[in-house]
């Protein structure tokens, strides 16, 4: 265990800045300054509500995939329909 000695932030030179509070290591804690950067429960609630509305107003994110064999079946049926339709037209035209 060579590096197990704890170095307090105030003694380190990393100067890391906390994203939420903008405090740097070694700064004294200031409740008033910190609270300006912390979202309140009300803000969180409103944000969540807005997100739920946005999600529910979007169309469902999926597409209907028709298998190839079903599409082939549909084209087969359409082809035969065209053929039958033409033969029926012939019958009518001959009759008239």
């Amino acid at each position: 265990m060579a590096n197990d000695t704890y170095i307090p932030p105030s003694m380190s030179n990393t100067g890391r800045e906390q994203e939420s509070t903008q405090f740097r290591d070694g700064d004294e804690f200031d409740l008033h300054k910190a609270s300006n950067h912390i979202a309140s429960f009300e803000v969180v609630r409103l944000a969540r509500q807005a997100a739920e509305v946005a999600i529910s107003s979007q169309p469902p994110n999926y597409e209907v995939v028709i298998p190839f064999h079903e599409r082939i079946g549909a084209y087969s049926q359409s082809t035969v329909d065209l053929r039958k339709s033409e033969l029926e037209d012939n019958l009518f035209s001959e009759a008239s």
Binding site: F68, S76, E86
Partner: protein
């Protein structure tokens, strides 16, 4: 022999019309044409879907009925000088497309082969609708 196969064989090997290239008569195009004649017309388009046909080959591809597609290829074997032919029947089933090769080997097609068959069938339908039946492939209404 199943009726479907009889019908296909009759269409493919019929001596009365096999060598006759059907052409659309002008004026009233389909007067006198039977279902068999219509299939022959369709097959001329179907056979050409897969690229140029070599001079000594005969290729047919057509929709026999709602559930059956036929691929037929005939050619002269260079080594033996004899005529050879292959018939492939594609059957539309609820769970896939069954391929029967020369009436013996059965298998459900998948992957690229299934996709290619689908594209061929789609193109076949669109072309015969316009060129044989003079109809819009989508609305099925007569083209003016």
């Amino acid at each position: 022999m199943p009726n479907v196969l009889k019908k296909a064989l009759s269409l493919l090997t019929g001596v009365d019309t096999a060598d006759v290239v059907l052409k659309l008569p002008k004026g009233r195009p389909f007067k006198q044409l039977t279902e068999r004649d219509l299939i022959k017309l369709e097959s001329e388009i179907g056979g050409a879907l897969f690229g140029p046909i070599p001079a000594d080959h005969r290729r047919e591809f057509f929709c026999l009925d709602e559930k059956t597609w036929i691929w037929y290829e005939e050619y002269i074997d260079i080594e033996t000088g004899k005529t050879k032919s292959h018939t492939v029947r594609y059957e539309v089933h609820e769970n896939g497309i069954l391929k029967a090769h020369d009436g013996a080997q059965y298998s459900f097609i998948e992957g690229e082969e299934l996709q290619n068959l689908y594209l061929a069938v789609q193109t076949y339908y669109e072309q015969i609708a316009r060129d044989v039946y003079k109809r819009d492939p989508v609305t099925k209404r007569k083209l003016i």
